[in-house]
């Protein structure tokens, strides 16, 4: 579903991402782990055609991202790191706006389902600028799944959510992957990866220092934190 070959992104002398090779297969829940500033968000922006790499190739859904970034955005659901829905639309209006951009029909029921599932129907008529961060994140989750994509790419999916909502979102993502969907998440919270991911990559200072299954022999029976810290040394 995602193939990355020799991908690099340099900002001047800063090598934000350096010669990364990666493959995510259909039906995987892949976690890209790494400390703050390791290059996770830059990777996601390149995968979704938001920024162009300095070098390398990216294929998503069989589409060359560099050549057809718009087509990738049409097919994939994306949740950026910072939740920035337009300020003066209400939560409900924002979902309708996204549905119009994606040229969706019969989306109202889906919106209702998300309001109910993530328990923010009471905030549907509040302006996005007045919503709490957690509610904005719920809204961004809803917009990413509105067109029922086969692949969703999420930057820090649970960071603003309370434990109850985190549980619901984790369950939803596992169920979604169980039905054939593919999820690529980035996070620095190791417990999330351990609990829901089927495979992972660890990025450190722009370099992919590990890539493999959660049951990889290299990890063994050790706590993920121990393995992670060992790689950081």
């Amino acid at each position: 579903m995602i193939t990355v070959k020799d991908l690099s992104k340099h900002f001047g002398d800063n090598k934000a991402v350096d010669t990364v090779n990666l493959e995510v297969r259909k039906g995987e829940l892949f976690g890209l782990l790494g400390p703050n500033g390791s290059g996770k968000t830059t990777m996601i922006k390149m995968l979704t055609g938001q920024i162009r790499p300095t070098a390398g190739e990216i294929t998503v859904h069989g589409i060359n991202v560099l050549e057809e970034p718009l087509r990738v955005k049409e097919l994939v659901g994306i949740i950026p790191e910072q939740e920035t829905p337009p300020s003066f639309l209400t939560a409900e209006e924002y979902l309708y706006f996204v549905a119009k951009i994606r040229k969706l029909e019969d989306f109202e029921e889906k919106c209702e389902w998300w309001f109910s599932y993530l328990d923010f129907a009471g905030q549907r008529d509040v302006l996005c600028k007045d919503l709490s961060r957690g509610t904005r994140q719920k809204l961004m989750l809803a917009q990413a799944f509105l067109h029922e994509p086969e692949l969703v790419i999420i930057d820090e999916p649970l960071i603003n959510l309370d434990p109850l909502m985190q549980r619901k979102v984790k369950d939803f993502l596992k169920d979604y992957v169980g039905k054939g969907g593919t999820v690529f998440i980035s996070t620095h919270i190791l417990d999330i990866a351990r609990e829901i991911c089927s495979s992972m990559g660890i990025i450190y200072k722009g370099e992919l220092v590990f890539s493999g299954s959660m049951n990889d022999p290299a990890i063994g029976e050790r706590p993920l934190e121990e393995f992670f810290l060992e790689l950081m040394k």
Binding site: T48, Q50, I51, R52, L70, R71, K73, E74, I78, I79, P80, Q82, T84, P85, P86, S87, F88, L89, T90, E92, E93, Y96, F97, V98, K100, I101, R102, Q123, D125, V126, L127, K129, D130, L131
Partner: protein, 464 residues
């Protein structure tokens, strides 16, 4: 205390320079000086019909207005700043996280604004104006003029802070009071004549300096600020207003139109943001009316110039400010993860801009009717449409979706003036040769489309 002031100064500088680079912003005072120098050089022509007293009146009120604009940004600019930087990231909001009182912050904020904008606007403006005057053999006492213009600037700034305090404390009642003040002023001046305008204390101080008037001018700066400080009420908006889904209804109504969802979003942004439709009245209609009232006086100096032609060109240029409103609340990062490109968003804004142009078009039509020039309406409308389209195309090319801040860059601003100024003047003088030549403005339309095409290509490659 000084650390906070120092940090606020750095914050203001870095905020501006982050948008267009240190050098681009550092050159901005030079642009101001160049403009004011051109202004004083133009007295070679305008000096024939405008007295020195009127020049000084204009200068002091211009600085008063600039001070009000700087102060007003503290009020109206809050949404823009929140959108771009997030509410908690500005030092002005730090009383929530640091043990500093709101009064201390506000005092530092006012002092910072006064000093910062003295160097950014007032000083270069005065230097440019006095230097230009010397070149044409006029002499203005530099220190005196700098002092009185600075006082006029501070008066505007201070009064807007006072009005913001009234608004924060009294809410809608305050708003009513704010609206009542200009009405009272209009009634007052209608009875006593516009000579009352000369009573502005900084202007009186320049013309007839005395200790008494200096104290009065100073008091007009200090008192409103002190009152603002005493009744300071910093409002961190926590309330959640509820709105019915207007988007769905409006998009269904405009279903036939491809950009309906963007247009409805722009309309909702516009109507729900601070100021609402009042923005059209205060930042477009009022200046347009002022232009209409003062044009006949200014054009006495160049006999033969067609007032209606000049008015259509000026309104066409002013109409482009509406594009600024449309992009004010949007950043492309809000769309970057959706199947849209920057040109898509630019096109949507231009669609909304076209619709908003109904207002200035109506103004031009009314002016034509008022001037008894019904038979010239086609020429005038064509001229207005061509200029408006051309100016907005230049704006889009130079600033993209970041108009408010980009025009503070010296290079961008100079390019803007050079691209628009000669074209606007050319149209006016062409019409002076023969009114039928107004039709030549039609050339601007394909030029504008070409510039827009180049703009889309330029901004498509920008990264978020």
């Amino acid at each position: 205390m000084f650390e906070l002031f120092n940090s606020m100064m750095k914050e203001e500088w870095r905020m501006h320079s982050s948008f267009f680079g240190n050098r681009g912003f550092a050159l901005f005072p030079l642009v101001i000086a160049a403009i004011s120098m051109l202004l004083s050089l133009s007295m070679v022509i305008f000096g024939k019909v405008i007295s020195q007293a009127e020049v000084l009146l204009g200068l002091h009120y211009l600085l008063l207005f600039m001070g009000s604009m700087v102060g007003g940004f503290g009020l109206l600019g809050r949404e823009v700043m929140n959108r771009r930087f997030g509410q908690a990231s500005l030092l002005a909001y730090s009383s929530r996280t640091l043990p500093i009182s709101e009064r201390v912050i506000f005092t530092n904020f006012v002092v910072k604004d006064v000093i910062y904008y003295f160097f950014l606007y007032v000083l270069p403006f005065t230097v440019g104006f006095v230097a230009g005057a010397i070149l044409i053999g006029l002499h203005y006492p530099f220190i005196t003029l700098l002092t009185t213009l600075f006082l006029a600037f501070c008066t505007g700034l201070s009064f807007v802070f006072l009005l913001s305090t009234i608004y924060a404390n009294l809410g809608k009642k305050g708003l009513f009071l704010l609206l009542l003040i200009p009405v009272v002023f209009l009634v007052f001046f209608q009875e006593t004549g516009f000579n009352r305008l000369y009573a502005l204390p900084p202007l009186v101080l320049y013309m007839n300096p005395s200790v008494e008037i200096f104290i009065i001018a100073l008091a007009l700066v200090i008192l409103p600020s002190v009152i603002s400080l005493i009744f300071l009420k910093v409002d961190y908006p926590q309330s959640q207003k509820h709105y019915r889904n207007q988007f769905k209804e409006a998009v269904e109504r405009l279903g036939f139109y491809g950009y309906s969802h963007f247009m409805v979003k722009d309309y909702l942004d516009f109507s729900r943001s601070e100021g609402g439709a009042g923005k059209i009245v205060f930042s477009f209609l009022v200046p347009v009316i002022i232009v209409w009232l003062f044009l006949p006086q200014l054009l006495k100096v160049v006999p033969g110039l067609d007032i209606l032609v000049v008015f259509a060109v000026v309104v066409g240029m002013m109409a482009s400010s509406m594009y600024n409103w449309l992009v004010e609340y949007d950043m492309f990062s809000s769309y970057a993860f959706l199947p849209l490109t920057v040109p898509d968003v630019l096109r949507s804004k231009l669609n909304s801009y076209s619709v908003l142009n109904i207002v200035p078009l109506a103004v031009v039509l009314m002016a034509s009717i008022h001037a008894g020039r019904l038979y010239d309406i086609v020429h005038i409308v064509l001229l207005f449409v061509a200029v408006s389209l051309y100016v907005v195309s230049v704006t889009v090319y130079l600033t993209g979706l970041n108009t408010t801040f980009s025009l503070y860059s010296a290079g961008t601003f100079a390019s803007y003036v050079l691209a628009i100024g000669p074209v606007a003047l050319g149209m006016i003088f062409l019409a002076q040769l023969n009114f039928q030549f107004v039709f030549a403005s039609v050339i601007l339309i394909p030029v504008a489309f070409f510039v827009l095409k180049r703009s889309f290509a330029k901004w498509e490659n920008c990264e978020v």
